[in-house]
Assembly symmetry: C2
Amino acid sequence: MSRSLSCYRCGDRYDDDTRVRCACGEPLWIDARPTASSWDDRPDRGGMWRYEALLPIDRPEGVAGAAGGTPLVRTPGLDDATGGRAFVKDEGENPTGAYKDRGSAVAVPHAIAAGDDVVGTVSYGNMAISTAAHAASLDRECVVFVPADISGVRLELIAQYEPTIVRVSGEYGKLYGDALALSERHPISVLVSDAPARISGYKTAVFEIYDALAPETPDVIALPASSGGFASGVWLGIRDLESAGLLAERPRVCLVQTAAADPLTRAFEAGATEPTPMSPDETGETIAHSIGNPDPPSGARALAAVRDTGGAVVSVTDDEIRAAQRRFAVDGGFCVEPASAATLAGVSRLAERGEVAADDSVVLVPTGTGFKEMGTGEAAVETEAVHRTDLSDRLESLLGSRRP
Amino acid sequence: MSRSLSCYRCGDRYDDDTRVRCACGEPLWIDARPTASSWDDRPDRGGMWRYEALLPIDRPEGVAGAAGGTPLVRTPGLDDATGGRAFVKDEGENPTGAYKDRGSAVAVPHAIAAGDDVVGTVSYGNMAISTAAHAASLDRECVVFVPADISGVRLELIAQYEPTIVRVSGEYGKLYGDALALSERHPISVLVSDAPARISGYKTAVFEIYDALAPETPDVIALPASSGGFASGVWLGIRDLESAGLLAERPRVCLVQTAAADPLTRAFEAGATEPTPMSPDETGETIAHSIGNPDPPSGARALAAVRDTGGAVVSVTDDEIRAAQRRFAVDGGFCVEPASAATLAGVSRLAERGEVAADDSVVLVPTGTGFKEMGTGEAAVETEAVHRTDLSDRLESLLGSRRP
């Protein structure tokens, strides 16, 4: 494939595929320009490497081979809540439990191929865990920049892969720009949320959804939005499918934010093409840690993805997220993190507004497993206590006897 | 496919496929008797339902569709520790993070098809979580029998799917037998660890390993052993492959136990065909909760699987398990639970004894994700603190500058 970069906004092209941002200021992505034959020639293998020809590296050994290839599941139990026909694309079924593995599987080997023995990332959550795992698998050093006040729980999840962990004091939100400068100055690739090779990895989620649903095409793809990186990857995947002549109509990309930090929703509602960064005063606390981003680096591109596909951006409260998380488990059988549950809450909002038709196929993309931070042992759980020898009596009163 | 049951030991057959044990006392399994054409005709789809024709039910909707289809990954970082060529079959990438989903995906709909609206299980770990999730997905009641002293962490993981949770006082180890009696007396299928439909689900893991490695066949398949249910499923899968004429040589099934509860290792070393249940006095504490089973209901069948394939059973200590868990993460990029890490420790033991050849393909099967009970925030993690404006100086001393 071509390995040139281009800017979605001004159209400028660059040959250096380690560059992150265009001279115009917007983030770049890597061109693939697939044709119909790119689909016909796919190898018959599992996982995201079925689309190797459309990625900027060859399939590496190690944990990268376990990334992607997640199931898409028809989930009638969530139809009511979505207003359409619900499908779940369970990105929790990745090696580190999040879609981030698709990006790391491409971006970490890509950085190594470009000559960097050391990779890094700016994250205290799923991206940090994933980048550290993929670096470990390829036996490379990894430096993770976390905020000074990171929780012990998150620290432990990252530390298992033994990266160098640097607690950064000062304004953590400024680290995105710092990371690009540090990558230029020192022999390290700090793989930020919208590193172009990451975005290439993310687009494979759309290819898998397309292939699993064919000959039907999805009407709505709903995902949580934070930096705008995943939304960019989903849009790139849709553009690749269009380039290959496979899409009659674009799926509507619907992004869901937490009301605690929703610059994209505000910009979408105001008709703006760029989000306005939210100040610390405007930004609230939320259980949806993974998407509490007041200043998304790919925010303008995410908004363009939504507008290009006729989608929407909505915000939901923590209460709505909790209710949606419960529905994912109780009506769907899926354990998802709060940020992922937001997708269902967001689509419910759209359905209430009449923006989902009953026959629409609605693909919810829970981006991360709920198992990572569940099981604190602090939840109140209702149980009953029965002695072993009384179990039959108890079941008799609960269920009665078998008919003869 | 045929839906009759048979006994691996005495060969007796039964037409009632809800029966669990043979009159001879041993557990039953469901016959499939595949031929070579069973493989040629597989549909091109992801997940375990590629083998639908060899399963006793049709593919259901819901979370069952997300079970199996896990990646098999060449993992050179673990070659040293295995003494051969290491592959990881990452069963953590299941919807509830464990191979148990393969069993629940078949057994829960199978019980419903047999007329039971209520399912149950005897477990306080992965099997409970999985059974509750699959029942929720199909909108059926689920009753989970847990020990009276279950931890709050585990309770929370199970309770998210809202089954009825019964804390059972009295001797929890006797509940396997009770469960069979309760299922006969009341309109509930209590799906124990070796319910025949579960075993059918487990065999798909072997089919996937075979298909991913073809034309090579695996030399060693290493898994943790507790009840012997998964070992039985792996053996059934191997027998199906042989029946279809696809295997020139059987992979050696190697089972790994915790030294705290290792009746299978003791029986294997003593040349016995049946394990002797261990008393509470003989049974120790272990970090590998998932396999601390002193009285495995499918123990004799698991031993038969090992002997039939030329495999082995070994026990490992908690210290070995901790070291192996670290290696899985640091050298492989995989986060696995302690019971799963035991596979690597066990194969290392076999390698030391000269039972693994350098060119052997060794498939480690981590059966469950490590994310469920990790992140207590209590681990000591080494970090360094740097102010944002000093990061470049810090990277300069760590890594130097880029060459011009």
